[in-house]
């Protein structure tokens, strides 16, 4: 099996597995006052400290959630509600066109149900938001902006955003900037304090931790209104009994991923380069999407996203799947219909190029053998997919 879909989810790191499985049999609600509760709380707080330390945040800035989608929703809706409550003029939400649906759809929902005025930030041909785009959007009506959100690195095409520069621009107007960094942690250096961000989303299963747990880092001076009400856990921002084993596994993963990040990034950059070269050797007209640069401030080291002219992405995926190679076409609707990527469309690609693309994403368990498997399969697969052609009703 050749697993090249690490951006969807990556195998658990041994450190995370060990930390989590050690706690699965233990009783204890971290909010309880007795010994079992104190024991659970100690694991939770140690986990909070490890995550804070690994990501350049303070422990009190770590709000555990049920994953990246919840953290994104908490950031977008929570910041919007808190900022609007402080000043009713603040109804504007600035969001890049290439965000994950967890951000896009949360912003659209605010627009449809909460009177938010959602403005989409355009990207360039490699999918990057320039500081000037954000500056112009803010300058239009600085007092009307509730928040801005631009991801750290794009999940589809791997483009890394200049988040620190963007945060500085937002700070000029006192506007909080949120970033979804679920793809960045473990692949890129991530430092919350140095970035100047107001809020940052991280999730367990993208960096070698368990599924179903994540966190929103929220700056000390930043207020977010809660989505979930109840027992008042997590600074009253996110009620609900914490999943102690998952939180411990998550922290072990973030810690290991951040420590190993420099070596891993170097190794994945080389492996990704070999993969792209092999694909282009077999399919000379394949087009690499996103930023062609190798530097870590330009592109995720594990991301290879290519368009194959004359092919449908879903045909390529099926044919590769049949050969034991697992990759992704991007987004699908709830029924499973492949959709042309909104990211590629925002980058100015036509619909054929957007539909005829595949994402190969490498991670900590990727090897030369994975590259060799794609190198062998991709030529015949593309040739076969081209026989089926592209859809034109």
């Amino acid at each position: 099996m050749t697993y090249l879909d690490h951006a969807a989810t990556t195998p658990m790191l041994p450190e995370a597995y060990d930390a989590m499985s050690a706690l699965l049999g233990q009783v204890g609600n971290a909010s309880s006052l007795h010994a079992a509760g104190r024991r659970a709380r100690r694991h939770v707080e140690e986990a909070r400290e490890r995550i804070a330390s690994a990501l350049g945040a303070r422990p009190s800035e770590v709000v555990f959630t049920g994953g990246g989608t919840e953290a994104d929703n908490l950031a977008i809706k929570g910041l919007f509600w808190a900022r609007r409550a402080a000043d009713p003029r603040r109804r504007r939400v600035l969001v890049s066109r290439v965000e994950h649906h967890a951000v896009l759809d949360a912003a659209e929902w605010l627009g449809a149900h909460e009177g938010a005025d959602v403005r989409w930030l355009d990207v360039d041909a490699v999918g990057r938001i320039t500081p000037d785009v954000l500056r112009d959007a803010l300058a239009e009506a600085p007092d009307a902006v509730a928040l801005a959100s631009v991801m750290w690195a794009n999940n589809e095409v791997g483009t890394v955003q200049p988040v620190a520069e963007l945060a500085a621009v937002a700070a000029e107007h006192g506007v909080p900037l949120h970033t979804d960094a679920v793809q960045a942690v473990g692949q890129l250096p991530v430092d919350f304090a140095a970035s100047g961000l107001a809020a940052l989303t991280v999730t367990g299963h993208k960096c070698g931790g368990p599924l179903g747990v994540g966190a929103l880092l929220v700056g000390r001076s930043v207020t977010v209104a809660p989505l979930l009400h109840g027992g008042g856990q997590e600074r009253d921002v996110r009620s609900g009994t914490l999943d102690t084993p998952a939180v411990a596994g998550f922290a072990a993963a973030v810690d290991a991923a951040a420590r190993e990040q420099p070596q891993r990034a170097q190794r994945l950059t080389a492996l990704r380069g070999a993969l792209v070269d092999a694909i282009r050797a077999a399919v000379p007209d394949a087009v690499l999407n996103g930023d062609p640069a190798r530097a870590l401030d330009r592109r995720l080291p594990g991301n290879a996203h290519l368009s194959f002219p004359g092919c449908e992405g879903d045909a390529l995926l099926m044919l590769l799947d049949a050969r034991g190679i697992e990759c992704s076409t991007g987004s699908a609707c709830s029924a499973g219909v492949a959709r042309p990527s909104h990211v590629l469309l925002a980058m100015g690609a036509d619909e054929h190029r957007a539909r005829g693309s595949l994402r190969f994403s490498l991670g900590h368990s990727s090897t030369d053998a994975d590259v060799a498997a794609v190198a062998e399969a991709i030529g015949p697969v593309v040739e076969r997919a081209r026989r089926a052609g592209v859809r034109r009703p």
Partner: protein
């Protein structure tokens, strides 16, 4: 053999896929997304919502069978070739059969062509019909037989078609699904036109064609017996829903004899006037050899209709069928499918009757 199994989310196609897999073939399940996804490409965050429940049922069945499963988006093809055709046919006063059109232009054309191009050898569906020596035959379960809506298939299409449930009864198929642990075993059969909600074809058409009121005329006297909102909503042979102001003088029921949307008229009359003994059809398609002389056969004029003894001949590319016993309520636009016993000979689209 590499087989693509079209899985609708129903029990028949799930069992069909299971049987092909049991036979040792390399099977991949595919659900066809045919419903339009409004605004799918319009805004930055828009995504269509599809027939997610049927897709989920199909995916679940494929998971139980342990076969790969994908969704193929054929909404645009389906809209262009089946839905638009359906509306245009009704607008012209004809009564189309969209299932037949879908088999002809989507399942055994767009899907089969794509499957063959991608390296599959055959397409399996859950239709109740049989292929025997390259010829299409009625299903063993005559109450469920779907050979009528497959009558448009050519020998080439039939050569790549597998109908694994055609030799079984519906009850056997449901029992087998339950034995295999398929949750769709008890799922109700689908009825009506799949893209028209709640079976309300007249209302659905009115949304697309607008209101076009006109008279309901007596075929005998030419007198206006009532009014209608749109002639397109009527079908030759229809008796219900005529909303006649005046009962017929003889007290006998009236039937739709003719529909003329251009003139906005619907003509009604007695049942005797529905009787036809000749049927003309365009675009004949033959699932076996093309007949070169008048052929004794059985003619079926609607889905689940009776097959009537007839003589069929081809004249200048058109099919002419003479019925030995009259048929009642033959609507232009429907298919005439010809049988030799239970073997399909061919079909055509009805253009005129007499």
């Amino acid at each position: 053999m590499r087989v693509l199994a079209a899985m609708s989310g129903g029990v028949d196609s799930a069992v069909a896929a299971a049987r092909v897999a049991d036979a040792g073939h390399d099977v991949v399940g595919v659900h066809l997304a045919l419903a339009a996804a409004p605004g799918a490409h319009s805004s930055v965050a828009a995504r269509g919502c599809c027939t997610s429940e049927d897709a989920r049922d199909a995916r679940r069945a494929a998971d139980v069978l342990g076969i790969p499963f994908y969704v193929w988006d054929l909404a645009a093809e389906f809209a262009a070739r089946v839905v638009d055709d359906f509306v245009a046919e009704y607008a012209s006063g004809r009564t189309p059969n969209p299932c037949l059109r879908c088999n002809e232009t989507i399942k055994f054309a767009a899907v089969l062509d794509r499957a063959l191009a991608l390296g599959f050898d055959a397409l399996a569906t859950g239709h109740y019909a049989r292929v025997d020596g390259g010829r299409l035959r009625r299903a063993v379960d005559t109450a469920k037989d779907q050979s009528y809506v497959l009558g448009v298939l050519t020998p080439d299409q039939l050569a790549h078609a597998l109908f694994p449930v055609g030799g079984s009864t519906k009850a056997e198929v449901r029992d087998e699904a339950a034995r295999r642990g398929l949750a769709v075993a008890a799922k109700p059969d689908s009825h009506d036109v799949c893209f028209v909600p709640f079976g309300n074809t007249a209302g659905w058409l009115r949304e697309r064609l607008g209101s076009a009121p006109g008279p309901v005329l007596d075929a005998e006297t030419g007198a206006e017996l009532g009014r209608h909102d749109g002639a397109f909503a009527f079908t030759v042979g229809q008796r219900r829903g005529l909303r006649l102001d005046r009962p017929a003088a003889d007290g006998r029921p009236r039937y739709v004899l003719g529909v003329a949307p251009a003139e906005r008229t619907v003509t009604v009359g007695t049942r005797e006037r529905l009787a036809v003994t000749t049927v003309e059809g365009e675009r004949p398609r033959w699932s076996g050899p093309v007949p070169d002389r008048p052929t004794e056969c059985l003619a079926q004029l609607r889905a689940h209709g009776e097959a009537l003894p007839a003589v069929a001949r081809v004249e200048q590319g058109r099919l002419r069928v003479t019925l030995r016993t009259p048929a009642y309520g033959v609507a232009p636009g429907q298919a005439v499918v010809l049988y030799d016993g239970d073997t399909v000979l061919g079909s055509a689209t009805v253009t005129a009757t007499g």
